[in-house]
C-alpha cells in the first residue's frame, strides 16, 4: 500500500518553482531550459512577467518535471515587515507567517506578485532562485532568501549572467549564499548556453531531491542524448552541403571566354544558394527563427552572406589560407581545368578518355578527360572555398549550440569562433571531387545513370562523423 503510494508519487512530475528578484532572468531560464523562444515575455523592464506560467519537461513524451515561472519579487523588505505582523507569539514559525500571509486577502492585494511567487514555492518540491550575479548581495536579496527559507522548500540558487565575467560577482554571491547555508549553487547563463551548465543545474537539484533522483537522472541522460543527436544532425547538414559543393561541376566551352564567365557565375550562384539552404536547415534544426539572424549586421543579407563566399577578404576573415597566389587571384574560389583540347594529352590517353566518356558514368575521370578532349572547361570550387564553407558552417553550428533561447540579441558569427581545421581537405571531400553524380547541384542529366548513390551516403556519413567529432571537442 505504502509502496504503491510511493510509486504513484514518484510518477508525478517534479514541481519546480522559478523565483527571484524582478528582471533577473527567470523567464529566460525557462526559455533556455525548454528551448522555447516563445515562452513568456522577456525584456529588461521590471515586472515583465505578471502571471504564473508553466512548462513541463518531457522525456520520451512523458512529463518528468514541471517548471513554473513566477512574477519577480520586488518589495521583499516591505513584505518581510508585513509578514512579521502575523507573528503572535514566539512559537510562531516563519512557515506559519507565510501560510497566514497567503490566506490573507489584504496582503495579496498589497503584494500580488510576491504572493503568486510564494504560493508556487509552497506548491513546489524545489525552488530555483534566479540571481543576477552582476548585482551585489543587497539587503533586499537577503530578505528574499529569508522569506524563501520560511517556505521550507529546498532552494537552488541559480547564478545568471555569469558569462559577463567583467561584472559578475560570482564569488561574492557564493560566499553569501554559503553563509545562508545554500551550498548547492548552480551557475547557468541563460544567454550563453553552456553545454554542461544545464546538466549541472539538474545535478544540483538532484543533490537536494533524493526522492526524484531517478527522474532527474533520466532527464539528464535524455538531454545529453538529444544534444548529441542534435550535433550529429547539424554535422549531417554541413556534410551534405560540403559534398554537394565539392562535387559540383559546371562545364563550359573552353574557347568562349564569355561562356566560361557565365558558367563561373552560375557555379558561384549555385553554391551560394546551397549554403543559404544549409543555414536555413540549421536554424530550423535548432528551432531558431528568421528573426534570430535577420538583424541588420548579420551574416545573411537578403539571402546571401554579408561576407560573400567567393570574396578573398572573407577567406582572410575566417582564417582560411588561399594557398598559391594564382588561385586566389582572378578567379577567387574557383578552380578551373583550363587544359582543353586533346593535343596536350597524347593520343593513347585521348582514346582511352574517349572510351571512358562514351561509356558514360563508369568513369568520372574518363568523362573529364573526354570533356577536355572536346574542348570543354570544368569549373569547380577550389579547396580554399570548401575550407571556408567548412569553417563558417562549423562556426555557425557552434554559435547555435551555445545560444540560449532567451538571447534577445541577433545571432552574430564570430570569425574567431571558427574551429581551426586542418589545412588538408577532409578525405571524403577529396573523394567527392571526382564524383559529379554526388552533387545535387549538378544538372540531373549528369546524375541520371549514376545509380543508387550509396557511396555518397557513406561519404556524407564519414564527413559528418569527422565534423561531429570537431564540434564535440571543446574549443581551445
Amino acid at each position: 500500500m505504502n509502496a504503491a503510494a510511493r510509486t504513484a508519487a514518484s510518477a508525478e512530475p517534479l514541481r519546480v518553482a522559478v523565483v527571484g528578484h524582478t528582471n533577473t532572468g527567470k523567464t529566460s531560464l525557462l526559455r533556455t531550459l525548454t528551448r522555447d523562444r516563445a515562452f513568456g515575455e522577456v525584456s529588461d523592464r521590471p515586472a515583465t512577467t505578471r502571471d504564473v506560467r508553466g512548462a513541463a519537461l518531457l522525456v520520451q513524451g512523458q512529463p518528468v518535471a514541471e517548471l513554473y515561472d513566477t512574477p519577480g519579487l520586488e518589495d521583499s523588505i516591505s513584505l518581510l515587515e508585513h509578514l512579521e505582523q502575523f507573528r503572535d507569539d514566539h512559537r510562531t514559525t516563519g512557515h506559519d507567517l507565510v501560510a497566514r500571509f497567503l490566506e490573507h486577502d489584504d496582503a495579496r492585494r498589497r503584494f500580488p506578485q510576491e504572493a503568486k511567487a510564494i504560493r508556487q514555492v509552497m506548491a513546489a518540491q524545489v525552488a530555483l532562485y534566479v540571481i543576477d550575479a552582476r548585482e551585489p548581495v543587497l539587503g533586499k536579496y537577503r530578505d528574499e532568501l529569508a522569506i524563501l527559507a520560511w517556505c521550507a522548500r529546498p532552494v537552488v540558487p541559480v547564478l545568471n549572467f555569469v558569462a559577463d565575467t567583467a561584472h559578475a560577482r560570482t564569488a561574492e554571491w557564493r560566499e553569501q549564499l554559503a553563509k545562508l547555508n545554500l551550498h548547492a549553487v548552480a551557475e547557468f547563463d541563460t544567454v550563453v548556453l553552456d553545454e554542461s551548465g544545464e546538466q549541472r543545474l539538474f545535478e544540483k537539484m538532484r543533490t537536494l531531491l533524493d526522492s526524484h533522483r531517478a527522474t532527474l537522472d533520466a532527464l539528464i541522460a535524455d538531454r545529453q542524448r538529444l544534444r548529441d543527436e542534435l550535433t550529429r544532425s547539424a554535422a549531417m547538414i554541413v556534410a551534405d552541403l560540403l559534398i554537394d559543393a565539392a562535387a559540383c561541376v559546371v562545364r563550359a566551352p573552353a574557347d568562349e571566354p564569355g561562356k566560361v564567365d557565365a558558367a563561373m557565375e552560375q557555379l558561384k550562384q549555385r553554391v551560394r544558394q546551397r549554403e543559404q539552404r544549409a543555414v536555413e536547415q540549421l536554424l530550423d534544426l535548432f528551432r531558431f527563427g528568421q528573426e534570430d539572424y535577420l538583424g541588420h549586421d548579420l551574416p545573411l543579407e537578403n539571402g546571401e552572406w554579408g561576407w560573400d563566399l567567393f570574396n578573398p577578404e572573407t577567406m582572410k576573415r575566417f582564417g582560411v589560407r588561399t594557398g598559391g597566389g594564382a588561385a586566389a587571384g582572378a578567379a577567387a574560389g574557383l578552380a578551373i581545368d583550363a587544359i582543353s583540347g586533346g593535343l596536350t594529352l597524347g593520343l593513347p590517353t585521348a582514346v582511352g578518355a574517349a572510351l571512358g566518356g562514351l561509356l558514360g558514368s563508369g568513369s568520372a575521370e574518363g568523362r573529364r578527360l573526354f570533356d577536355r578532349l572536346r574542348g570543354y572547361s570544368e569549373l569547380r570550387c577550389n579547396n580554399a572555398t570548401l575550407q571556408l564553407l567548412t569553417v563558417r558552417q562549423l562556426a555557425l553550428v557552434r554559435a547555435l549550440l551555445q545560444r540560449g533561447h532567451a538571447s534577445p540579441a541577433p545571432l552574430r558569427l564570430d570569425a574567431d569562433q571558427a574551429p581551426v581545421t586542418a589545412r588538408r581537405l577532409p578525405e571524403p571531400l577529396q573523394r567527392a571531387r571526382a564524383q559529379p553524380a554526388w552533387s545535387h547541384l549538378n544538372s540531373p542529366a549528369a546524375t541520371a545513370f549514376a545509380g543508387p548513390p550509396r557511396r555518397r551516403d557513406a561519404a556524407v556519413a564519414d564527413l559528418a562523423d569527422q565534423l561531429h567529432h570537431t564540434l564535440r571537442r571543446p574549443e581551445a
Binding site: N23, A55, P112, L138, R232, D284, P453
Partner: protein
C-alpha cells in the same frame, strides 16, 4: 525495390519507405526547408511511441502522402513489370540457348538449325551441350557468390538484377517526371541501399531471371527431345575416356537422387564413337535424362533456392531497417513530434494593473522647517569607489550614507524626519543599471515624503552599463527610472544620469547647477565654500598685535575689509553673496547712514534671540554689520570709498541699530556714535570681527541656520571676559573656532 514489397513487406516498412519518400520530396522542394504541417505533426505526436514511429505517422498524415504513396506503388509496379519482362526475355533466351546447344553436332560446328538431318536424326555432343547450357550461368553464379562473400558491404550494383531494376527505374522516370515520382524512386533506392536489403533484392532478381532462363532452357530441351531424334556422343582429343566416365558419374549423382536415369559406365564408353552411339538406344534415353537432370539440378534448382534465400535475407534486412533519425530532414522534426517540453499555459493570471498601487500619501512631514544643508543618500548603490560624499563646488553635504537593507532604510527616514532642518535639497543616489523595482519605488516615495521640495535623483554607475556596450539599454533604464520618479513625485527634470565614479568637472558642474543656490527660493547648499575661518581669525590676531590700545574705526574697518576680501577671493559669486547677506547697497549715492544702519540691523536680526538680549553681542552684531557693509561696499566699488560717510555717522548708525527692540531694556548698549565705536579694550572690536567672519563662513545657509549656529556657538560664552592683549585674543579665537566647529558639526548631523 518493388520486390521488397513483394517479399515480406511489413506495414511498418512500407510506412518507413513513405517517410523516406516524404523526406526526399521535402528536400527537393524549392528551398528544401521542409513542410510545417501542424495537423500532420499533431497526428505524429498523437501516435506516441518513439521518434521513428512518430515520423512515420507524420509522413502518412501529410497531404502529399497520398500522391507519394501512389508514386511508390507505381515504382513498385514498374519494378515488378521490369522483372516479369526480364524473366520472360530470359526464358526466351534460355529457349534459344537450348536450341543452339542441341544444334551443335559432334562433327563440329552448327548443323542446319531446325532441319532434320539425313540419317537417324542429329548427333549431339553431349558435354558440349551441357557446357553451353550450364557453363556461363554457373560461372556467373560463382562470381556472385564470390562477390557476396568477399565484399560483404557491396551493393551488388553490377549484377543483372541491378541492371534490370535500373532499367525499370529509368523507364519509370521516362514515363513520369513529377516531383512525387522522383521522390518515390529516391526513397526506394535509398531504402534499398541504407537497409542493406539492396544486395539481396538484386540477388533475388538475378536469380529469378536465371531461373527463368533455366525454365526456358528446360522447356525447349524437352520439346526438342520430344520431337526430334538425337544421338548423343562425345569426343576428345587429349583427355582420356576415364575422365569423361568420372565426370558423368559426378554429374549424374544429383539427378540420380531424384530418380532420373543416367548412363552407365559402359554406355559412356560406348558413346565415344558416334557409330556405336547410334546403336545404343537405352544410352540415348539415359543421356537425355542426364542433360535434363543436370539442367534442373545445376541450373534451375540453385537459382530457385538462392532466390528464396535472397528473398528471406531481403525481408530480414527490411525488417531490421530503421530510419536514420539524424538525417537533416528528420532532425528538424524531433522537437515538433517528440517535444522535450510542453507548455502548461497560464496557471495564475496577472492582476489588473494598478490594483497594487497604494494611494501615495501627499502629506509631507515636517513642513515649514528651516532649510539646512543639502543631504545626500545612496540607495542600493553597488560600489562607490570615489570620495563620499562627492566633492561638489561649495557644497557642504549632510551625509546620510549608504542604504541597502531594512535597518538602513529606517535609519535614514527617521533621521530626515527628526531633523530640525529640512535639507536644501535631498540628493538620492541610485544605481542606473539596477532595475527600478517596486521596493525601491516605495522607499523613494517614503524619502520623498520627508521633504517638501522634490529630491534630486542621481543615477550613478552608467559607465558600467556603457561598458556592457548596450547604449540602448541605458536609454531604456533611464526612462524606467524617470517613470518611477514621476510616480513617487520627483520632478522629471530632477533625474540626473551622472556616474560619480567617473565624474568629470563638466558633469560635476552640471550637478552643482542642479543644486539650488538662490537663497530666496531654496537656500544653496553652500556653507561648504572653502573654509577661511582660520585665516580670518589669524588676520584678527595679526591686527590685534599691531593695535596700541583699542582700535579706532578706520583700523576696525580695515580688518573687516580684509576678512571680507578673504571670502571674496574664492569664486566670483561670493561678493554678491556678501552684499546679499549684509544688504549692501549697490547704489552708493544718497543716504549712506541709513544704508549702513540697515546692514547693521540686518546682522542684529540674524542674531539668535538670546544674543540679542545681551548688549555686548548686540553691539558686536551692529558693528560687524555696519563695518561689513562699509568693507563690502569699498571692496565692490572705489566709488563707495569716496562716498563714505564720516565715522561719526557710522557710529550713529551702529548705535541706532543696537537699540533693543520690542521694548526690552538692555543696559550697556552704545547710546551714541562715540560710544558705539570706542571701547576700553580689544573685546568689542575682536568680537565684531569674529562675528563678521563667522557670518561670512555661514553665508548661504539661510538666516535661520545661521541664527541657530550662532546660538550654539555663543550661547554660554562668558560676557564678562576682557581681551586686553593679542595673546588673549588668540586664546579666545581658538576657543571660538572650536565652538564654531562643534556647533556646525551638530547642525550638519541634525
Amino acid at each position: 525495390m518493388t520486390d521488397v514489397d513483394g517479399h515480406g513487406e511489413t506495414s511498418s516498412t512500407r510506412g518507413r519507405v513513405l517517410a523516406e519518400a516524404v523526406r526526399a520530396y521535402e528536400a527537393a522542394a524549392p528551398g528544401g526547408a521542409g513542410v510545417d504541417d501542424r495537423a500532420a505533426e499533431a497526428a505524429g505526436r498523437a501516435v506516441g511511441g518513439d521518434f521513428e514511429r512518430r515520423l512515420v505517422a507524420r509522413a502518412a498524415a501529410l497531404p502529399a502522402a497520398g500522391k507519394l504513396s501512389q508514386a511508390l506503388d507505381r515504382v513498385t509496379r514498374a519494378g515488378k513489370w521490369a522483372v516479369v519482362v526480364g524473366v520472360v526475355l530470359m526464358a526466351v533466351a534460355g529457349a534459344g540457348a537450348a536450341r543452339g546447344a542441341m544444334a551443335v553436332s559432334v562433327d563440329g560446328g552448327a548443323s542446319g538449325g531446325g532441319g532434320i538431318s539425313g540419317g537417324g536424326g542429329q548427333t549431339v555432343n553431349v558435354f558440349w551441350a551441357l557446357g553451353a547450357l550450364l557453363g556461363v550461368q554457373t560461372l556467373l553464379l560463382l562470381g556472385w557468390l564470390v562477390a557476396m562473400v568477399g565484399w560483404p558491404g557491396g551493393a551488388g550494383q553490377g549484377s543483372l538484377g541491378a541492371a534490370v531494376l535500373g532499367a525499370g527505374r529509368w523507364l519509370a522516370s521516362r514515363v513520369d517526371r513529377s516531383a512525387e515520382q522522383l521522390a518515390a524512386m529516391e526513397a526506394v533506392t535509398g531504402t534499398l541501399m541504407r537497409s542493406g536489403a539492396g544486395r539481396w533484392v538484386f540477388g533475388l532478381v538475378s536469380h529469378a531471371l536465371w531461373a527463368g532462363f533455366n525454365v526456358g532452357c528446360l522447356v525447349m530441351l524437352l520439346v526438342l527431345l520430344s520431337v526430334r531424334h538425337y544421338t548423343f556422343a562425345w569426343e576428345t582429343t587429349i583427355l582420356s575416356p576415364e575422365a569423361y566416365v568420372q565426370l558423368t558419374q559426378w554429374l549424374a549423382a544429383l539427378p540420380g537422387v531424384l530418380g532420373l536415369p543416367a548412363p552407365t559406365v559402359e554406355q559412356v564408353v560406348a558413346t565415344q564413337a558416334v557409330a556405336e552411339a547410334e546403336a545404343l538406344n537405352e544410352a540415348r534415353w539415359a543421356w537425355a535424362g542426364l542433360l535434363a537432370g543436370s539442367l534442373v539440378c545445376y541450373g534451375l534448382a540453385p537459382r530457385a533456392l538462392l532466390a528464396v534465400g535472397c528473398a528471406l535475407a531481403a525481408w530480414r534486412a527490411q525488417r531490421r531497417w530503421r530510419l536514420d533519425v539524424t538525417l537533416p530532414g528528420y532532425g528538424r522534426l524531433r522537437e515538433r513530434l517528440m517535444p522535450t517540453t510542453r507548455a502548461l499555459g497560464v496557471v495564475e493570471g496577472a492582476d489588473v494593473e494598478g490594483e497594487t498601487e497604494e494611494a501615495l500619501s501627499q502629506e509631507r512631514r515636517g513642513e515649514g522647517r528651516p532649510v539646512g544643508p543639502a543631504a545626500i543618500v545612496a540607495v542600493e548603490v553597488r560600489s562607490h569607489e570615489g570620495v563620499w560624499p562627492p566633492v561638489v563646488d561649495d557644497v557642504q553635504w549632510r551625509d546620510l550614507g549608504f542604504v541597502d537593507d531594512r535597518e538602513g532604510r529606517r535609519r535614514v527616514i527617521e533621521a530626515l524626519e527628526a531633523s530640525e532642518v529640512e535639507p536644501a535639497v535631498l540628493v538620492v543616489v541610485c544605481e542606473l543599471a539596477a532595475t527600478p523595482d517596486r521596493g525601491t519605488e516605495r522607499y523613494l516615495g517614503e524619502l520623498r515624503r520627508t521633504v517638501t521640495r522634490s529630491p534630486l535623483l542621481l543615477l550613478t554607475g552608467g559607465q558600467a552599463l556603457r561598458e556592457r556596450g548596450d547604449t540602448e539599454a541605458i536609454g531604456r533604464r533611464l526612462s524606467q527610472w524617470r517613470t518611477l520618479a514621476e510616480r513617487v513625485g520627483i520632478d522629471g527634470d530632477a533625474v540626473l544620469d551622472l556616474d560619480l565614479d567617473h565624474a568629470t568637472d563638466a558633469s560635476l558642474r552640471q550637478l552643482a547647477q542642479r543644486l539650488p543656490r538662490d537663497q530666496d527660493t531654496t537656500t544653496p547648499p553652500a556653507a561648504g565654500h572653502t573654509r577661511h575661518l582660520e585665516a580670518a581669525f589669524d588676520r584678527i590676531v595679526t591686527h590685534a598685535r599691531q593695535w596700541q590700545g583699542p582700535p579706532d574705526p578706520p583700523a576696525r574697518s580695515k580688518l573687516h575689509r580684509e576678512i571680507a576680501a578673504l571670502y571674496r577671493s574664492d569664486g566670483g559669486g561670493d561678493a554678491k553673496a556678501l552684499t546679499k547677506l549684509l544688504d549692501v547697497p549697490t547704489d552708493f549715492r544718497g543716504d549712506w547712514q541709513s544704508k549702513v544702519r540697515n546692514s547693521a540691523s540686518r546682522v542684529v536680526d540674524m542674531l539668535p534671540p538670546s544674543l540679542r538680549l545681551r548688549p555686548r553681542w548686540l553691539a558686536a552684531g551692529a558693528a560687524s554689520g555696519a563695518l561689513g557693509c562699509v568693507a563690502a561696499a569699498t571692496l565692490l566699488s572705489p566709488l563707495a570709498i569716496a562716498a563714505l560717510p564720516t565715522w561719526t555717522a557710522i557710529g550713529a548708525a551702529i548705535a541706532a541699530a543696537a537699540q533693543p527692540r520690542g521694548g526690552h531694556t538692555v543696559s550697556d548698549v552704545p547710546q551714541d556714535a562715540d560710544e558705539a565705536l570706542h571701547s576700553d579694550d580689544y573685546t568689542e572690536a575682536v568680537d565684531a570681527a569674529a562675528l563678521f567672519a563667522m557670518l561670512l563662513q555661514l553665508q548661504g545657509l539661510g538666516e535661520a541656520t545661521i541664527s541657530r549656529v550662532l546660538d550654539r556657538v555663543l550661547t554660554d560664552v562668558d560676557d564678562t571676559r576682557r581681551l586686553t592683549d593679542a595673546d588673549a585674543v588668540r586664546r579666545w579665537l581658538d576657543e571660538l573656532r572650536h565652538r564654531f566647529d562643534v556647533a556646525f558639526a551638530e547642525e550638519v548631523r541634525a
